[in-house]
């Protein structure tokens, strides 16, 4: 843990966003993770993305479960709401929170243990419901908080720090999500903010759940030779398949959006997601093609990164359930709970 809190001194040339806030206004407490942890870089990317999209801190809710990853919401946006839930329950709690207050923006930060082992069921159902949230899996292939056992995302043959190879087949959150109807799927690397920040910005504007699997090396237990989730291995094997950036609605008039070699996806709020340099024949809106492309490349040992799939046509949880536009949280009590007479009447209908 650092000896001091981050000094208040700021760079005098620090820019302000539309809200008049500097990037440092989006910071949280000092990280207590190991020095060099990939999670801290993801935190920094989240801070940057939220600052760039001028998120109002009090309109953000930070959700998490248990694990190193789940500590990180404390390290960004001090002024936001937050809920640190039981192990693996982050997606369920977020679903409930989103149901009660649809006005907030939700970011759930989870890990490969939290989401792919104990919480995998919750995650799958939140994906199916298309809960409007940004869902980040900080994926390092080990249980760091319990001293480095393999997690469910460890590759077959990847070695532990003691040298033992993993024998169980990994769960790939990207393939899993694609197979159960996820509407926004991306993979990135904590060491590549140039890719991760635009993906995060797009994710915050997506209509439903945006799932981002981020390879985030565990510098203490899984950054050695023999690991397939180390900094060096990821750098050597990561292939950026797509290069996407977000054009907010206000900048649509910018002339240099050329149609050539660009696949454009219009998001729910009118902003445009531009895919530059996608592989030939790749269509980020075609689930079958994306799935097969990923399977082929995975066979070759490549870690495909980028914003891989997006579908803006699927309604989110509120739309599917035709819920009230007014968040439940702001409804008067009498309307939320109309009393036993109303309940009696309702039950009568089913008799």
């Amino acid at each position: 843990m650092p000896s001091i809190a981050k000094p208040l001194a700021r760079h005098p040339a620090l820019k302000q966003n539309e809200l008049g806030l500097t990037i440092r206004d989006y910071e949280g407490s000092m990280s207590t993770l190991c020095a060099g942890c990939g999670h801290d870089s993801i935190t920094a990317a989240i801070v940057r993305a939220l600052w760039e999209i001028s998120m109002q801190p009090h309109m953000l809710a930070k959700m998490s479960g248990i694990g190193c990853s789940s500590k990180t919401p404390a390290y960004f946006v001090n002024g936001a709401h937050g809920f640190n839930s039981a192990h693996g329950r982050m997606p369920a709690i977020t679903t409930g929170a989103a149901a009660a207050n649809r006005e907030l923006t939700y970011i759930g930060v989870s890990g490969d243990g939290d989401s792919l082992s104990i919480g995998i069921g919750h995650m799958c159902h939140a994906i199916r419901r298309n809960v409007r949230m940004v869902y980040i899996i900080e994926n390092n292939g080990v249980y760091g908080l319990t001293k480095g056992q393999f997690s469910a995302s460890a590759d077959v043959g990847s070695k532990s720090k003691r040298g033992e190879p993993n024998q169980f087949a990994p769960i790939d959150p990207v393939m899993l999500a694609l197979s159960i109807g996820a509407t926004f799927v991306a993979r990135s690397f904590s060491g590549d903010k140039e890719q991760l920040v635009p993906i995060l910005k797009a994710a915050f504007r997506h209509r439903g759940m945006a799932l981002i699997d981020v390879i985030s090396p565990c510098v203490t237990f899984n950054d050695h030779t023999g690991s397939t989730k180390s900094y060096l291995y990821t750098r050597k094997h990561a292939v950026s398949a797509t290069d996407a950036d977000l054009v907010p609605p206000a900048s649509e008039i910018v002339a240099n959006i050329s149609a050539q070699d660009v696949t454009a996806v219009t998001l729910h709020d009118g902003s445009i997601l531009r895919f530059r340099s996608v592989p030939e024949g790749y269509d980020p809106t075609d689930r079958v093609k994306v799935t097969s492309y990923l399977q082929q490349r995975q066979q070759k040992g490549e870690i495909i990164t980028g914003l891989l799939f997006v579908n803006e046509h699927v309604p989110d949880m509120h739309e599917m359930n035709n819920t009230s536009d007014t968040p439940l949280a702001r409804m008067p009590y009498e309307k939320l709970c109309p009393g036993s007479a109303a309940l009696e009447q309702l039950q009568e209908e089913f008799r």
Binding site: D40, S190, G191, P217, Y231
Partner: protein, 595 residues
Amino acid sequence: MDATDINNPQYFHKVVDCQWACPAHTNVPEYIRLIAQGRYTDAYMVNRESNVFPAILGRTCDRPCEPACRRGRVDTHPVAICRLKRVAADLKGEIKHLLPKIPAQKNGKRIACIGAGPASLTVANDLMPIGYEVTIFEKLDKPGGLMRSNIPAFRLPEQVLTEEVNLILDMGVEIRYNSPVKSMRELLASGYDAVFVGSGAPRGKDLELPGRHETDRIHIGIDWLESIAFGHIHSIGERVLIIGVGNTAMDCCRSSCRLGGKEIKVMARRPRPYFKASPWELEDAEEEGVEIVVNHAPKQFVIENGKLTGMIFERLEWDAQAKKSRTLDEVFYPADDVILAIGQENAFPWIERDLRIEFDKWGLPVVNETTFESTRAGVFFGGDSAFGPKNIIWAVEHGHQAAISIHNFCRSIPVTERPAAGMKLMSQKMGISEWSYHNDYNPVHRQKMKHVDLAERFRKLNIEVELGFDAEQTAREVERCLNCDIQTVFSAPRCIECDACIDVCPVQCLTITRNGEELDLRSRLSAPALNLDQALYVSPPLPHTQRIMVKDEDICVHCGLCAERCPTAAWDMQKFELAIAYADSTSCMNSYVPA
């Protein structure tokens, strides 16, 4: 860009902005840390090694370190370095045993110094410990030069001056008072092995305007101050005009306040941003009720019946850069006395012009800027007499350099062979996230110096106005220092490019990126590096991606978080100590080593 050569001591030296800006390269962060630890004697000795007169300079220095101070770039006000120096001097204990030992056995070389000001005294300070016999010729009956004659006692108490000057004289210097050198030829013939001229710039500039010589109420500033210092002048008229707006003018107007002046005006030709006086001296003068009148050019002294009644000025209007002016009209200001403080000149009527000591067209001696040797071998100049009026700290540095030259000259080593500066770098790591310096950033504001109240300070001429920092102020002010000498040292082969340092840096000074030309690189950093005076610290290619680590030195607060968050110790915080060469480098460097 090429990778930065951190083995060159000048690279990290430049990062220590205050030390770099100080002509004598005083190790400021080190002595501030010692003050923070209550080690005032040690702090004083660190000062004394380079600037020789800490107590004097702690009150009177021109402070080139403060505008350079990094803290000024981070939160607008620099550390009060000068005031802290005075704290060390005020609170120090016994230091006699820490001074260099003077050998009983002399080396047989005799050096003559002309003038007992800071330059000559520094030469003596550096040469006495090596065994030289130094004789100082002083025209007045007390030592100190300009420090005594031109700096009023309310800024520099006499006992402070005397104490520090005596530390040097007590080394066994032979000083001859009331002995102005009348002929350089005679001095050269009297068998000294080398001669050092440290006679200052003793002639105040005159202002030849109508009426100048029809009254005795027009004074030359520096002469007038000297007369006060030596007790020859005790009063002045009620209405005083000071012509000129440099630091001498400030001393003149404030002295007038104490001698009976009631309505004192400093008359400046140009607008305020172009004043020569230090901002704090202007503030102090205005606090004492002195009025500073801008855009007035003196035209004429008005004499009625042989008595000075005032002066006529042209009122000027300046263009934007205050280069060209236009006269608006003329105004009369009444005055009983006028003091001229418009500059000083060198004057060497006592140096015969056929001694192969050349002078330029302005009457300044031709002096080598590195060796301080004149065109005649064995004759050296320093202080104001070398390049015209500067200040005490420059005179001290000239003295150090001239002493090196004299020591070379006396050993028949070319004076151009200068001993090289060295450096020490030492890791400050004590454990995980534990450093041997206080790395936290303290947002406290610059402490304000307390002054004796106005009525009390005007009661006597020699009541020191500044009270010095009290214990609480000192404790706060030392924490403002950013420890710029604790360097961020980077080892590229260890870096795994995890970005932890970049993410944690509070002032966005780190970047990993592809290499490029300097200006291109400066534009691509986490925060653009627009201050071209500050270096970029560029690493060799990093092992994983061949990109480079770049640090913009400009705003770094030396908090050490980059090193704390580095998993491979590629960053380390290391204390940089510049090993400054003096006349006898070995004895000077080892004369005092803080434990």
